[in-house]
């Protein structure tokens, strides 16, 4: 099998890791939490990094009037479908082996990824700004939105927001499809050279 096809196939199949590995993680650090609090975000759920973390984040956040972390979200139903569809398309494209399709898949993934990040931002904004007016602790003008990506200080907490293993494999998969596109160009050049000689 051609190298480009192989790259495309492997790249798209890497997306399947998202069903077992976390896509993203938000970690909160404070002196009273020596082992820190963390949320692992999967395409199907949010889960405490340590047992009890979700409840402990909820307990902490209720003092400033934040909602509980959602157990159900429409994204958790939609994302798995999108991922499955893209994996199937990726595999089909891999077998077809046309370089333009490789690029199309990569572009489609990039657009979907951007939409995903925008959606994540909207949720974070809502989570950090929608505060109970009866909250016991209130700081006028203070919002508790975690960073989209990077590190930010929120009151006594340091919040880190970064991709996790599933997220990194997703990026790797996407770049493999881009790689497949370039390798396919090289392969075509080589073939045409061979044909010429």
């Amino acid at each position: 099998m051609k190298k480009s096809k192989l790259l495309m196939l492997t790249g798209s199949l890497l997306l399947l890791s998202l069903f077992v590995l976390p896509l993203w993680n938000i970690t909160l650090e404070a002196p009273q939490y020596p082992s820190s609090l963390g949320i692992d975000i999967y395409i199907t759920k949010m889960q405490g990094h340590n047992e009890g973390d979700i409840q402990n984040i909820n307990i902490m956040n209720h003092y400033v009037g934040m909602d509980k972390l959602p157990e159900q979200m429409k994204e958790f139903e939609l994302f798995p479908i999108v991922v499955i569809v893209m994996v199937i398309l990726g595999v089909i494209i891999g077998f077809i082996g046309k370089k333009k399709l490789f690029l199309t898949w990569f572009v489609a993934m990039s657009i979907l990824g951007s939409i995903g990040m925008y959606d994540f931002y909207l949720w974070e904004y809502e989570y950090g700004h929608n505060l109970n007016p009866k909250a016991p602790i209130q700081f006028p003008g203070q919002a508790y939105q975690p960073p989209l990506i990077g590190t930010k200080t929120i009151l006594n907490f340091k919040a880190h927001s970064y991709p996790r293993s599933g997220g990194y494999l997703l990026f790797l998969g996407m770049f493999m499809s881009l790689g497949a596109f370039y390798v396919a160009i090289k392969e075509e050049e080589a073939e045409s050279k061979n044909a010429a000689t």
């Binding site: 082992s35 047992e51 009890g52 409840q55 402990n56 307990i59 003092y63 016991p136 602790i137």
Partner: protein, 652 residues
Amino acid sequence: MKLSFKSFLILLMFGLSLAIVSCQQGSGNSALKSSTAEKVFVAPGEYDEFYAFVSGGFSGQLAVYGLPSGRLFKIIPVFSVDGEKAWGFNEETKPMLETSYGFIPWDDSHHPDISQTNGVLDGRWVFINGNNTPRIARIDLTTFETVEIIELPNSAGNHSSPYVTDNTEYVIAGTRFGVPVPQRDISINDYKGNFKGALSFIKIDQETGGMDLSFQILMPGFDYDKAHPGRGKSDGWMFFTTYNVEEANTLLEINASQRDKDFIAAVNWKKAEEYIKAGKFRTMKTKYAHNVYNDETHSATSTMKTEVRILDPGNLPGLVYFLPMPKSPHGCDVDPSGEYIVGSGKLSANVTVHSFPKMMKAIKEKKFDGESYGIPILKFEDVLAGVVEQPGLGPLHTEFDGKGNAYTSFFISSEVVKWKLGTWEVIDRKPTYYSVGHVMIPGGNSQKPFGKYLLAMNKITKDRFLPTGPEVTQSAQLYDITGDKMELLLDFPTVGEPHYAAGIPADLIKAKSKKFFKLDENKHPYATKSQDDVKVVRDGKDVHIYMTTIRSHFAPDNIEGVKVGDRVYFHVTNIEQDYDVPHGIAMIGANTSELLIMPGQTETFVWEPKEVGVWPFYCTDFCSALHQEMQGYVRVSPRNSKIKLSWSLDGE
């Protein structure tokens, strides 16, 4: 004039430089002290190298310290009620202090001993004796809580206990007092021959740690003072020191000190197992409590047992031998190899050491020097390994460093003496402040001592600390024993009498220490696992409140419909699932203590309101920023009131 001013300046400079030199000399001394200080300094946030479980003596509890710092971490309630932790006050732990005499809120806890595997500390459990109402407790080292207490029938003054065998097959407990067995109304003057001393063998379940009184050996009515299991080559034997072989029943300080030699009783417990298997026991009716705490129901149960198997050593050859030991021996210690049995005749000027191989040889050759109540007595000279000549006054207890050295405490001359096994020469002596009882080296009574520190536990402190009225603190002292000479590092105060201790490297325990109880695994019959499930239920005059706590509120926190004369049970579940977030609760006028509830745990206290009114309760453990807001009310109406039970949180 000028000149003399100059010379004055010079003189002044000279004087100053002298002062500086002498200051430097002064700081030179304190530098020496600061190097000692460094040896016990554990920097903020760092951990101690060893845990020390130090008994509380007449406090009835067990305290956990760090070594070398001497910092106190926790007091584990064992035999005495503890209002701080609601031990013996909440409904769940009351059964732990049940005995055949009913509920007893106190005891005298003496000898902690850590479980072993192959003669090496394994950090599973600590066992400790209750002296006054004979009991043995087991503390689980994942929760650092007392999880089991078993009472010992036919025993009185449960002092020579508890001691674990090489593989924790048995925890063994001897009686200090001879008593009539079974108890009956006879003249005290009929002591001789009629009073007995029971040696109890408690079988340990290796999976659960569960204790079962397997059998008792009914010995003559001597006082069985201290004990030590054989180690390694002497595994299978148990050694007890005795005093009062005179069998005196009055003015023992004179009448029990008449004989030149008392005995060490050598008990072959493997033989005892054979006799039990062969059915050579008699079953005796008796009564003793067996109390077990369950970490899933967070509750204890107390069961009254009614039978015990008895072995009579006079009729069972090979079960027990007596080894003569000078002058009312107290300490009985076996070295890590299992070869030497060290007896400390507390009225003797010498420390006498017997040899296990010589004992076996004498038994084999049947070289007996008469018998006592059918138990063969071996000849002193035949079993003697050696004598440490005149090491001090009033030898009590010996521990070992695993490098061939023994360390014996001397009560009267108030010192610790280091001597060499085999050559019996004294290597070093250091004073204690004052009148040391036990000494402890982590693992120092096992096959594998961790011979870095020795802890001396004193009986008297006098002027060592700031005075606190007639009752002054008790104390322990830490010595560095890594060099040829011992070095005193630290004095630290202790809670209650630090009678004896058991030390263990922290690495063998700390990773296993539980952080919190899982709410999913809570099987308490009155557990409330979610705030949605809270309720108040009336059952006649009993009112059961199913309550939850989480930062920073109780649910429910407003309750109405309680009446004067009700018995109100607060069943409170801490539904937190985070490390170190306990909640407490206390109710005005409740004739009991607060509760201190760990995450995932349910505890219950009872309140019997006596007057109408609206009565508050609040959280006693500073749990969060809004801890002070964590409070609630119960409305109490007259007995004939028609007000229905109702409960709410935030109006819901």
